[in-house]
């Protein structure tokens, strides 16, 4: 346990010095600042006021940026170290594979989740200072969604990172995965449905399996279940499962998915040659 904390702590420090982390901070911090400057918290559009609207825009941005950021920065944590023989050296000390692997994962989790969450908190605080009422429910649920999304993609990234032996392959496959998940958001699903090639239940299943789609549906449902921008698949999900069940699923499924993927990566690390 002590070694797990040690690995996590050192990985965090290393991340904080790296360029990608700086970009990450600037992107999320900068976005929030941009929202403030453009007055998004004060305006009233489509019946949404202040902070709710801020959260809504933030959600759309998070869907696109967060997964790819987590994937490209994390997917190399095992594969690149293996290629450069850093792994050989770091693992020549009396430390278990579990402590190393889970330590790295905990470190990455803190590093990726904290900035997004703090930007969110910053937005809320700023809005509150402006006198807007704080939307506690959406805020807390949204925080949970972001956490779930982080866990899902971290788990997937660590799995790819141990599965694939070269760093380039790891980057390539995570990019393909990201595109595929994004493409299967509502728009593509509607297209398939309209062509009647695929059955409705298949499409609904695909939507339910895609952590990005879930995140989007869950997050937007926080504000208004009737929202037209959600698209028919999202609307159908909401209609079929009801709000509480869908919200719970949106939190627990990605965490489960990430957990299973991470565990598969750990299993691979133990079962195969380390170098």
């Amino acid at each position: 346990m002590k070694n797990l904390a040690l690995v996590a702590w050192l990985d965090m420090r290393e991340s904080m010095r790296s360029r990608w982390f700086l970009v990450y901070l600037v992107v999320f911090g900068g976005l929030m600042a941009l929202f403030f400057v453009t007055g998004i918290t004060d305006s009233v559009v489509m019946g949404f006021t202040g902070l709710s609207r801020l959260l809504l825009v933030y959600i759309q941005v998070t869907i696109v940026i967060l997964p790819i950021f987590i994937l490209i920065t994390t997917v190399k944590s095992i594969s690149a170290d293996r290629e450069s023989a850093i792994l050989e050296y770091m693992l020549s000390f009396p430390i278990s594979l579990g402590e190393y692997y889970w330590g790295k994962m905990v470190g990455r989790f803190v590093i990726t989740f904290t900035p997004v969450f703090l930007a969110l908190v910053g937005g809320i605080v700023w809005g509150a200072i402006q006198g807007a009422p704080i939307p506690w429910g959406p805020f807390l649920l949204y925080g949970a969604f972001v956490l779930a999304l982080c866990v899902a993609f971290l788990g997937i990234a660590f799995c790819i990172s141990t599965l694939v032996k070269s760093h380039d392959m790891a980057l390539g496959s995570s990019f393909v995965l990201w595109i595929a998940l994004l493409a299967f958001l509502d728009v593509a699903l509607i297209g398939l449905m309209l062509q009647n090639r695929w059955s409705d239940s298949l499409i609904i299943t695909l939507a339910l399996l895609n952590p990005l789609e879930l995140f989007r549906v869950g997050a937007i449902a926080l504000f208004d279940p009737e929202l037209s921008v959600m698209g028919p698949v999202a609307y159908f999900l909401l209609d079929t499962f009801g709000r509480p069940l869908l919200l719970a699923y949106t939190i627990f499924y990605p965490i489960l998915l990430g957990g299973v993927a991470a565990w598969a990566g750990y299993w691979l690390l133990r079962k195969r040659d380390l170098l």
Partner: protein
């Protein structure tokens, strides 16, 4: 005791270890030699638990390097063939080593000092930004500070200048005593006095295994 019995390892179609048998008693000091690609590094990695054998068995003081890696690695201090581009700061690397191996960081500093590397001057530098020789000195200092029951060195002196090499051998001589040494090298004449057994590998096999003693004192050969 490190016991390697009938070890076979294949990479793709390539047989890299072809039925290696080897026993290393504690306190025994071995030079492992052989041409590039003979399988020396692979053999060492098997002992450290990085590779799963296709056939055969490895034990370090009775422990299985894969299943009981912590027990095994507690006994072994290792220096890799080339210093890896670790991005941790020197201070962080030393913290990692000291805490995972449960030794005093101060001891690493002292060993580095003995090799004329002043760690404090580089405390806040990323490890990979040190010069090749400094990196190697630090890795040597770390290995010596750990005082493994077995030292396993994979050509550790490639980047060192002759003086640093001498300092390293001298320090190793002072320490060795009950420590076992497995030293991969191409320059056995430098190890005279430090080594009492010589093993030669070729194409994944041990082809020669004999006691080694050189009459002239260490270093004399290279100075002639």
């Amino acid at each position: 005791m490190i016991e390697i019995a009938q070890a076979r390892k294949r990479f793709g179609g390539n047989v890299v270890l072809d039925g290696v048998n080897l026993q290393i008693a504690p306190g025994e000091r071995i030079a492992l030699m052989g041409p590039n690609g003979a399988g020396k590094t692979t053999l060492v990695r098997v002992v450290l638990g990085f590779y799963h054998l296709d056939e055969g068995r490895v034990r370090v003081d009775g422990f299985d390097p894969v299943a009981q890696r912590v027990e095994v690695l507690r006994r072994i201090a290792f220096i890799p063939q080339t210093p890896p581009p670790i991005r941790l700061l020197v201070s962080e690397l030393i913290e990692y080593v000291a805490r995972s191996s449960q030794i005093e960081a101060e001891r690493i500093r002292e060993e580095a000092q003995a090799l004329e590397l002043v760690v404090e001057e580089h405390w806040q530098k990323p490890f990979f930004k040190l010069s090749g020789g400094m990196k190697q000195k630090l890795l040597i200092a770390i290995a010596l500070a750990r005082r493994g029951r077995y030292f396993i060195f994979d050509e550790p002196t490639a980047n060192l200048d002759p003086k640093a090499r001498e300092l390293f051998y001298k320090r190793l001589e002072e320490l060795s005593g009950e420590h076992g040494i497995l030293f991969i090298t191409h320059r056995i004449e430098e190890l005279a006095g430090l080594i009492d057994r010589k093993i030669y590998m070729e194409l994944g096999k041990v082809v020669e295994d004999e006691p080694f003693a050189m009459d002239c004192p260490r270093g004399a050969a290279s100075r002639m």
